[in-house]
Amino acid sequence: MLRLVLKPPLLLLVLTLATLAGIGCASNRNERAAQRGVSAYFAGRPDLAVEILEPLSHEPDRNYVLNNLRLGQAALAAGDLVTAENAYYRAYETLNAAGVNNQARTAATVLFNERVRIWLGEPYERAIANLHLGIVYYLQGDYNNARGAFENALFKLRRYAGDEDAEANYEEQESTFAIAYILLGRTWQRLGREDLAQQNFDRASELDPSLRALADSELHAGTNVLLILEWGTGPQKLPEGSGIVFAAASSPLLPQPRVVVNGRPAGIGELAVPTIDTHLMARQRRWQTIDTYRAIREVTGKGMMVGGVIVLDQGMRRRNEDTALLGAALIGLGALLDASSAPDTRQWEMVPRTIYLVPLSLEPGVHDIRVALPHPYGYGDLVQEFRNVEVGSGRETALYGRILPGHAGVIDFALPPDPVRGP
């Protein structure tokens, strides 16, 4: 029996399995912790999510970018802009680099298991990551950096446009992301470049005519408050055979927010329209080369298993121990390849379904703003309140709200920032 175990094919099979198990071990612990953070976020405790995700965000493992995006989103929802900026910036640096998955990791991804690759997200996730980084800068009044991040968000969609007729493909990609142009336009206005602002508003209207009223230069120039509201949950990646599909949205329709300022409905009418639908963006998925390798791995794995059974059978019939072991090793490796052909369904779960931009013109002073949106699954309304918002003359006030079920949804600017729960 001992002799059998020490035979090279079996030994190597065991080694291979042990190696793969080893790779997964430490990461699995971190992944479980990250999932606790994600659960805390969806349970309406973004502050707790920040606490859980913060240590994970410094681990430069295969989930480095993903965990930083999770932390960035949780911190943004908790009102912790410093943590959000740092987390999104760490993700931004890696997303902007090329060759993050080195050759060895690429080989391991193609041959073994695509979960060993460093997660860099789908195009829509990268675009939202950059958009959020821009929003974090915008909320802090750092308009030059906000502009840079919004521009980069558009780059991230372009990277995946097809080779043929690149301009038409850019347009197709960007048509689902005109929000970046609107925010760029408003940012250019704040930087005193009305000409560039106009260009960006025009581009937004051209790409998505439903946003024409919102992409109005005069509207943005004349408003001093911007509400950035995020609602719903993004697309869910599911394995289907050796491929990936995105689960259907709970409803094809996106609601309109109701905004009340100091107890009176704000006349926002056609401005309060959803600017994006991440479910739609996800379906334009273009990063599909790896799907082919996954299918090849699955077929190869099954082929090796069948071949292994034949070789094993031959070995046993001829009483040739080496041949029998080779057959067993082939079956094992085939099973391994087949099992590892499962698609990588890691995703940034916290991505919102849509974003609303609500520009308001308010007198200098202190205001209470209340926003209501329906629960994604129809359980009444979700409410976000901004209390004691100070609006100064001649400066912008930007407010962000992630409208989540279970989240307290009250930000009171009169209260000192809570060191634990954020503002």
Binding site: T16, N96, A104, N145, F155
Partner: protein
């Protein structure tokens, strides 16, 4: 297939599995962002440019050593961000690098925000120079970073232009200006 071939194949697969676990998310990859080397090259070029400028030499002869405040970097980069902390560290590094050329003709001082922000962070090894209150600067060194960037299927490229100017704080006249150009390219790989 011989047993030896199977052995080799299994060995290769194992090796791939092993090395797949190596290489961190921050340890590999090529970035088009400006690096510390670029910064050093920039500061060296500036130092020699300023020292060689006949106009600057004339003013030094007439007024004595120039007291210069290094202002925060202005980000006009396309599609890139320059976080405040990094911009401040950059400003302080430029000041440090310029101070290395000890000609006695300049007193380089960080601007107030940068000085106190960096001091609050207690960065080890960062030479902050004299406190802004201790020196009454008459000149300002201003840097604007611009870039033309593109990011597509093939990779990312950025053409950077850093414009530096030495301006009088009294009358806004520009005593010296110089431009530093650098192009960076990162070629996209299979899994990017």
């Amino acid at each position: 297939m011989s047993l030896r071939c199977q052995f080799c194949m299994a060995l290769l697969l194992t090796a791939a599995g092993l090395v797949g676990g190596c290489g961190t998310a921050v340890g590999s990859g090529t970035s088009t962002a400006l690096s510390g080397d670029d910064l050093e090259a920039m500061a060296d070029q500036m130092a020699s440019g300023i020292l060689a400028s006949p106009e600057v030499q004339r003013v030094v002869r007439e007024q004595g050593p120039l007291r210069v405040v290094v202002l925060p970097v202005e980000n006009q980069l396309t599609g890139e961000v320059l976080p405040r902390g990094q911009a401040m560290a950059f400003t302080a590094s430029v000041r440090t690098l310029l101070s290395r050329a000890r000609t006695g003709n300049f007193v380089w001082v960080n601007n107030r925000d940068t000085f106190y922000a960096l001091r609050a962070r207690e960065l080890e090894g960062m030479d902050l120079g004299p406190a802004p209150e201790a020196v009454n600067p008459e000149w300002a060194l201003h840097a604007t970073f611009r870039s033309l960037a593109d990011d597509d299927k093939r990779g990312r490229s950025a053409f950077y232009q850093a414009v530096f100017s030495l301006t009088s704080l009294d009358n806004r006249t520009v005593l010296w200006t110089d431009v530093y150009n650098v192009k960076k390219t990162a070629v996209k790989s299979f899994l990017d």
